[in-house]
């Protein structure tokens, strides 16, 4: 009996620490870029720029958080930006009827409901989430067009200022309310995923849905909840965009879902599900935002921007991959 134990012990020689460090390959990539930018520009490491960076990252960051969560649970949510647009429109409409507070609440509720619809379609009809959320996103954008007749919608004159509250800088060094909201949501999602049994269930479902089901986990309910959270994150993104622009429209944030998913995956969350972390999505967003920011600060010819952007993303991901090593 001791022999088996010995086997286990001597083979598993302290992998913990080094594995942890190796997991941080992508962080290394981001740190490298930060160092380069700090050294080569005088403007990068200014409070102003950092406040900007955070503000720029807020909406994609919320969407990437949603994407990370859903991907970990083993699904895809391609509808996040459609949900974002529709929720923002709902928020404006309700603001006009009942005031800014109810408008915001209605926007968030709309996000939750649309997310639940996604979840229910995926769970009930068992259509793969990739295609289900794609079809639903077409529907949501269509509904948004119908609701607005294709026009831009605004909160009434007297409510316009309050409606834009999320875009205001706060006393915290000028960091915008949107940035704070973003950080808050990320913190909550991070903790929920890493520390609660709900979070564990999400990982279990993403890692092996059948095993989860056999262990009595209510797979359907958890999935619907995950999509609902995704919808709420998207709606919050919509509120921020609407606050910044002082308006909403059906085409809001078109195409940004791919950036968000890319950020999630760039950060190191596995598209196969069951692995990843919210902070990884954040790192991905940071990387993508940084590259754009750096380019603009450096004043390089924008004609090379895309090539460099793609190459940096590939480089960072490769570094991550190499450090983490392969698994068979």
């Amino acid at each position: 009996m001791t022999a088996t134990t010995a086997d286990v012990k001597d083979v598993k020689a302290a992998p913990g620490r080094s594995a942890r460090l190796r997991d941080l390959g992508i962080v290394l990539g981001v740190v490298l870029i930060i160092v380069v930018l700090s050294v080569s520009t005088s403007t990068f490491l200014t409070t102003g720029n950092l406040v900007n960076l955070l503000d720029q990252a807020a909406v994609v960051g919320l969407l990437a958080t949603a994407a990370t969560l859903v991907i970990i649970s083993g699904s895809f949510d391609l509808s996040i930006t459609a949900v974002l647009a529709l929720s923002a429109i709902v928020a404006v409409a309700v603001t006009n009827v009942a005031g800014v507070g109810p408008g915001m609440v209605a926007g968030v509720l709309a996000g939750a409901v649309l997310g639940m619809i996604n979840g229910i379609v995926v769970v009930r009809i068992k259509v793969h989430s990739f295609i289900a959320t794609l079809a639903l996103s077409i529907i949501y954008r269509g509904v948004a067009v119908i609701l607005t007749a294709g026009a831009i919608v605004y909160p009434a004159e007297d409510r316009a200022t309050a409606f834009q509250a999320l875009s205001w800088p706060t006393v915290l060094g000028g960091v915008t309310a949107a940035s704070l909201l973003f950080l808050l949501v990320v913190a909550v999602c991070w903790i929920v995923l890493a520390r609660t049994t709900f979070g564990r269930r999400v990982y279990a479902i993403g890692g092996n849905e059948e095993a989860a089901r056999l262990s009595g986990i209510r797979v359907g309910q958890i999935k619907v909840a995950v999509f609902a959270i995704s919808g709420v994150c998207a709606a919050l993104g919509g509120l921020i965009l609407a606050a910044r622009g002082g308006s909403a429209q059906a085409s809001l944030a078109t195409g940004m879902e791919m950036t968000a998913i890319a950020a999630a995956v760039v950060g190191g969350t596995s598209v196969m599900g069951g692995e990843g972390a919210i902070w990884r999505g954040l790192i991905g967003v940071l990387l993508i935002t940084l590259i754009g920011n750096g380019f603009n600060l450096l004043g390089w010819d924008t004609i090379y921007q895309q090539v460099v952007q793609g190459a940096l993303i590939l480089g960072a991901v490769s570094l991550d991959r190499l450090l983490r090593g392969r698994r068979s």
């Binding site: 009996m1 001791t2 022999a3 088996t4 134990t5 010995a6 086997d7 286990v8 001597d10 083979v11 598993k12 020689a13 913990g16 520390r195 609660t196 049994t197 709900f198 979070g199 564990r200 269930r201 990982y203 279990a204 890692g207 092996n208 059948e210 095993a211 989860a212 089901r213 056999l214 262990s215 009595g216 986990i217 209510r218 069951g274 692995e275 698994r327 068979s328």
Partner: protein, 504 residues
């Protein structure tokens, strides 16, 4: 406690696999469930535990009918299942898997420490030594099997179905599990045990039920049965239960497989071996002693850190299964689900997969030839159940194993390495596989067998190597060792002075 199973029936695509099966389980007793591969054992147990929906059938718990629509329902009534095909979350830790979905929490917050405490008690009780923070996907498959067992125990269920839990365990782990089962029964639980090891069943079970072709054949006290009588019920005719005698190796037989100084990490530390044409060599050892890793290193599934492999005197390039195969090596891997089969593809495609090159014309698959060759192979191995065109995952576990085995015989290799070749295979078919291995050797193949069943290794091989800590620590010629001696050597807890520092 009394559980009446009444009228269980299930068919797939119109083909019945369970037909009106009824019998009764009792709390405090261990109930063996026997039958050939594909007889419907797993299906029955899954139906009872809510994992599949039966077409007909109901359960009476102490006379009251209960509804079991999902695994969750089943758990609520105290039913749990250790499934034959491991159902674990590979990317999670052992601890997470053992308490999957039932983690201790305070208001939703995971209480990992409480789970660790529970885990310590559990391993204390079972004697299974597992690192709770290891990722399941890094564990050898036998250790994964132990995780499944622990999970079932952790659920605190009073009706526990165990679908071939010992198929992968070595003798001493099996014995520990048997003790655990006896204790569970003594505490009042009803345990259903599916196994193809008849001695094991007879030693631990109070009652046995035999299924054949989805039909209930008999239920009765185990003491009235012998292995022979059980086999008779299962197969419908008497069957010989002896190992076939391998033909002696010719004096002048050339060495077909030669490995020198193989090393890979800490799992394979210094392995050298020679196998001659017509020789069957067995490797015995404990879980994690490095047997599978040795086979993988020889085959090139993993690139070794050092060492050379030669087949028939020709060096084999390291680290490439494709090139190893070209040189005449073949390996039946230990995990049919992860390494062996493409579960979603048809039986025929799977059998043909490792030998596509031999039945092609200008890159096109010769469909007729393939159908014929695959059909012949599968008939020869007695694969039953579905048509060749159906996906391989619809086959019963034992039949899947036969498909896997067949895949590697389609092109006659020079050297055949088999890792747990009869895992989950029924007695009858097991005999056929043994017979086949002996015949292949007689035709001049070199055969290397790894099995956790010491009897199997001893019964088949001309020569048995015992492995410990990634090294061969002993060798027995045929007939020169008892199972007890082999196990003792595999266990011998001599301080291993050569262990490098960093591995302590």
């Amino acid at each position: 406690m009394r559980i009446d199973l009444e009228g269980f029936g299930k068919s797939y695509g119109g083909v019945p696999v369970l037909r009106d099966v009824s019998f009764t389980l009792h709390g405090g007793r261990v109930h063996g469930l026997l039958g050939e591969n594909g007889a419907g054992k797993s299906t029955l147990l899954k139906a009872v535990c809510g994992a599949v929906a039966p077409d007909t059938g109901r359960i009476l718990l102490d006379g009251r009918p209960i509804t079991v629509g999902s695994p969750r329902d089943a758990l609520r009534h105290g039913f749990t299942l250790i499934s034959q095909e491991l159902a674990l979350v590979p990317a999670m830790t052992v601890l997470d898997n053992v308490y999957l979905g039932r983690w201790r929490n305070r208001l939703g917050w995971r209480d990992r420490r409480a789970d660790r405490r529970r885990f310590a008690e559990l391993t204390e009780r079972t004697g299974f030594e597992l690192d709770p923070s290891a990722l399941v996907r890094d564990l050898p498959i036998a250790a994964q099997q132990q995780v499944e067992v622990l999970r079932a125990l952790a659920s605190g269920a009073s009706v526990i179905g165990m679908d071939e839990p010992t198929a992968l365990l070595t003798q001493n782990e099996t014995e520990r599990l048997m003790e655990v089962i006896r204790r569970l029964a003594a505490d009042g639980a009803a345990v259903v045990l599916i196994s193809h090891f008849l001695e094991e069943v007879l030693s631990v079970c109070d009652d046995v039920t035999v299924l054949r072709d989805g039909r209930h054949i008999r239920t009765g006290p185990a003491v009235e049965q012998t292995p022979q009588s059980l086999v008779g019920d299962m197969v419908g005719r008497p069957v010989e239960l002896l190992y076939p005698e391998p033909r002696p190796v010719r004096e002048d037989a050339p060495v077909l497989l030669s490995a020198r100084g193989l090393r890979r990490g800490t799992a394979v530390r210094d392995v050298s071996l020679d196998i001659r044409a017509g020789e069957i060599v067995g490797i015995a050892g404990l879980v994690g002693s490095g047997r599978s890793e040795t086979l993988r290193a020889i085959f090139g599934a993993d690139a070794p850190d050092a060492g050379v492999v030669e087949v028939a005197g020709q060096a084999v390039p390291a680290g490439s299964p494709a090139r190893s195969m070209k040189a005449g090596l073949a390996m039946v891997p230990e995990s049919r689900k992860d390494q062996g089969l493409v579960l979603g593809r048809s039986v025929r495609e799977n059998v043909a997969l490792a030998s596509l090159g031999t039945r092609q014309r200008a890159g096109f698959v010769r469909g007729g030839a393939e159908r014929e060759a695959a059909g012949a192979m599968l008939t020869g191995l007695d694969v039953r159940g579905s048509d060749l065109g159906g996906p391989v995952w619809t086959l019963s576990g034992g039949n899947q194993q036969k498909v896997l085995f067949g895949k590697w015989l389609m092109d006659r290799p020079k050297v055949l390495m088999v890792d747990e070749p009869t895992r989950g295979v029924d007695v009858g078919a097991k005999g056929q596989i043994h017979q086949l291995l002996v015949e292949l050797a007689a035709e001049g193949m070199a055969v290397l067998v790894v099995s956790s069943e010491v009897e199997e290794v001893l019964g088949l091989a001309h020569r048995v190597l015992v492995m410990r800590h990634g090294r061969f620590v002993g060798e027995f010629a045929r007939g020169r060792a008892t199972p007890e001696q082999v196990v003792a050597l595999a266990f011998a807890d001599t301080p291993d002075t050569e262990l490098p520092e960093e591995n302590r």
